[in-house]
Structures are given as C-alpha cells and as structure tokens.
C-alpha cells in the first residue's frame, strides 16, 4: 500500500496529461498537460525516494522542476510568437513548417 498508492496516483495523473496532449487543441492547455506529466513523474520519484530511504530521488525531482521551468519559459515564448504571427493558439493551425 505504501508506495503503490502513490504510484497509481502518479499513473492516473500521467494518463490525464497524455490524453490532454492527444485530445486538446489549445496549445496552452496541451502544455499544461505536459506539466502534469512531469509532476506525475515527480510524485513517483518522491515515492521511490521514500521507499529506498535516500534523497537521490528528491534531487531528481528537483532537477525535473528546474528543467520544467526552463521548458515552460521557452515553450510559452514559442506560443506567444506563434500567436503573434498566426493569431491563433490552436495546434491544428500551426502548419508553418509544412509549407
């Protein structure tokens, strides 16, 4: 019960994030789905860190958070610049690289 409950919760959150990425078309919401997936991974990291009794897993979660912050900065900048040129945030309309 100890670790598996947290892992199941992390699985559910990861699944919700994945389905969000696959189904939704507002790119900001898609991006939030990615964030949720990272958080699910963090939860699993912390659960395992507690299981093994060391703080390495916590450190991994910490680095995940740092990378997530950097990723959000760049991703949102891309979304803003796309919105500036295309006036839309829908991922269906972003086909600039195709033409």
């Amino acid at each position: 019960m100890t670790v598996s409950a947290y892992l199941i919760l992390a699985s559910v959150l990861f699944t919700i994030g994945t389905v969000t990425v696959m189904v939704r078309r507002n790119s900001i919401i898609v991006f939030m789905g990615v964030e949720l997936m990272l958080n699910a991974a963090n939860l699993a990291f912390l659960a395992f860190a507690r299981m093994w009794g060391n703080v390495d897993g916590q450190l991994a979660a910490f680095f995940v958070m740092v990378v997530a912050a950097a990723e959000v900065v760049v991703g949102l900048a891309i979304i803003v610049s796309l919105f500036r040129t295309r006036r839309t945030v829908s991922v269906d309309d972003e086909n600039l690289l195709r033409h």
């Binding site: 912390l46 093994w52 703080v55 945030v89």
Partner: protein
C-alpha cells in the same frame, strides 16, 4: 511521520483527501472549455501535490513545488493566457475523425499498462527518508546537490540562462519602420487639427467615475471623447445615470458592427471638438445644438 513500514492513518487520511482533489483538478484539463478555468484547476492540483510531497518526507520539495509550480509556472501560464486573449476557448469539433476516441482509448491503455506494472511489482517496505534527511531535509538535499551532483547543477544553471535568452530572442520583434518621435507626432496633430492635449478623463463628479461614463463640460454637454475609443466602438458607453444606451443612443451604435464603428468615432471626435473648443465656452446652449445630449439629472 514516516514510520517507514506502512502508511500511517494520518497519511492515509491525507492521501485519500488530497488524491481525489488532485485528480479532479487535473481532469479539468480534459473537460474544461475555458483555458483560465483549466489553469486554476491545475493550480489546485499543484498545491495538492505539494501536500503529498510534504507527506512523503520531502518538505523542501513541497515548498519548491508551491513556489516554482504554483507561483511561477502557472502564473506564467495565466499571464500568457491573458496575452493571447482570455476568450480563446477550445473548440471540440474534431478535425481528424475519431481522434478523440482514439486518444481516450490510448490513454486508457496507458493507464492499464502503468497500473498493471505497479500491481505486478513487489515493493519493499518503505524505509522512509527520516534517516537520510537526519531532521534537515533541505540540508540533506543541498549536501547531495553540491557534492555528487555539483556538475549537474552547473549544467542546469547553463540551461536556465540559455532558456531565458531563448525566450528573449523568440519574443523579440524586429522593428521594421522608424519609430515616430514625440515632436513629429505633435507636428502631425497640429497639421491635421487634432487635439494636442490629452483627452479629458471619463467620469463626472458625484455620480460615476467609471471609464464608460463620459465626462461633461462646463455647459453640461457630454464629452464623448473622454470615453476610451474601444468602449465607444463596442457601444458600451453609459449615460450619466449609469444606464446603458439612454442618452447616447443616437450617437453610438448598439452593436459592434464593423461598418457602424467608424461613424461612432467620427461622431465622438466631432462632438468633443465642438464642445471643447474655445468658442463654445460662452454663450447659452442653443436648443438646436446637437453636439451632445444635455444633462438631465
């Protein structure tokens, strides 16, 4: 707190209270049409996860979760949402046929695979991080961070700097034309006979000071120019009693039709230049004067 063997009753209580809240908040990603509502729900999820982190024996990461995720990342999301327009709602019309069902099915498959892996594994009893933390969780993390993972930390610092630079470069806009200086702007305004001073502030004393209520001049006429032009174009100008579209009904179109927007601006500027001109300050108001409706308090 972490006895290591099983979840304590308090922790189970925490888990079963916080867990559904987290899942509910996350499910707004799938079901909510409004992006701002989604962002707020994800914030609830992040705070709930912070509670769980503290319960898992890492109070440092719980605090970092609140500060970084809820405070910085989700705020950035909301900021960008405001930038691209809050009214942007996702359409649920499928462009690829069956994409939604395929996505849901694949997600359910992923959930089955993941939880199957969890249920088939055997886990050792949790040791708990109390011994490793030694009463100082942040200190233990910092010790590891600056000893074994010091190089990783430096690379992460480089990554952050590069990300910040990338954001600046990505959102940088090259100016194609020379900016108009203040002097040139005044010259243009003088040549065209436009207003040189700032427009009068909207609102009038003792009744309303909202931006959608026009100011009145010394003769009691409404200065339509004092209302921001965006409100005038939308037809959201209120009269002096705060009732919409009463006195100004003939001036401002009620709907935001694009063909009706242009006369509204012209009417507004004509009325205001008439009422704000120096020749209007004296003299009693003529009955046939249509520069602006008179005040009926």
């Amino acid at each position: 707190m972490n006895n290591g063997l099983m979840m304590t009753t308090a922790e189970q209580f925490l888990f079963w209270i916080i867990g559904p809240i987290i899942v509910l908040g996350a499910s707004a990603l799938l079901f909510s049409k409004r992006a701002v509502l989604t962002a707020c729900s994800v914030m609830v999820t992040m705070v709930g996860l912070a509670f769980l982190y503290v319960g898992l024996g890492s109070p440092f990461l719980g605090i970092v979760q609140v500060v970084v995720y809820t405070g910085a990342i989700m705020m950035l999301f909301v900021f960008v949402l405001m930038l691209v327009g809050v009214d942007v709602s996702d359409s649920f019309i499928e462009t690829i046929r069956g994409q939604r069902w395929a996505g849901v099915l694949l997600g359910l498959g992923l959930l089955v695979v993941l939880s199957g892996a969890v249920f088939r594994s055997t886990f050792t009893f949790a040791i708990g991080t109390d011994a490793a933390s030694n009463g100082n969780n942040a200190g233990a993390v910092a010790h590891l961070l600056f000893s074994d993972f010091a190089f990783t930390l430096e690379i992460t610092g480089c990554l952050l700097i590069i990300a910040a630079m990338g954001a600046v470069i990505l959102t940088h806009r090259v100016r194609l034309t020379r900016p108009i200086t203040q002097g040139e702007m005044m010259e243009i305004r003088t040549k065209r006979g436009m207003r040189l001073t700032p427009p009068p502030a909207p609102g009038n004393y003792a009744r309303h000071n909202a931006a959608d209520v026009p100011a009145i001049d010394a003769r009691g006429k409404i200065i339509e120019d004092s209302v921001p032009s965006a409100l005038r174009m939308r037809g959201q100008v209120h009269n002096l009693r705060g009732l919409p579209q009463d006195l100004l009904e003939d001036k401002v179109p009620p709907t935001r039709r694009p063909d009706a927007a242009a006369p509204a601006i012209e009417a507004g500027t004509a009325g205001s230049s008439d009422s704000a001109g120096p020749r209007d300050t004296g003299g009693p108001p003529e009955p046939g004067d249509t520069a602006g409706p008179e005040v009926k308090p």
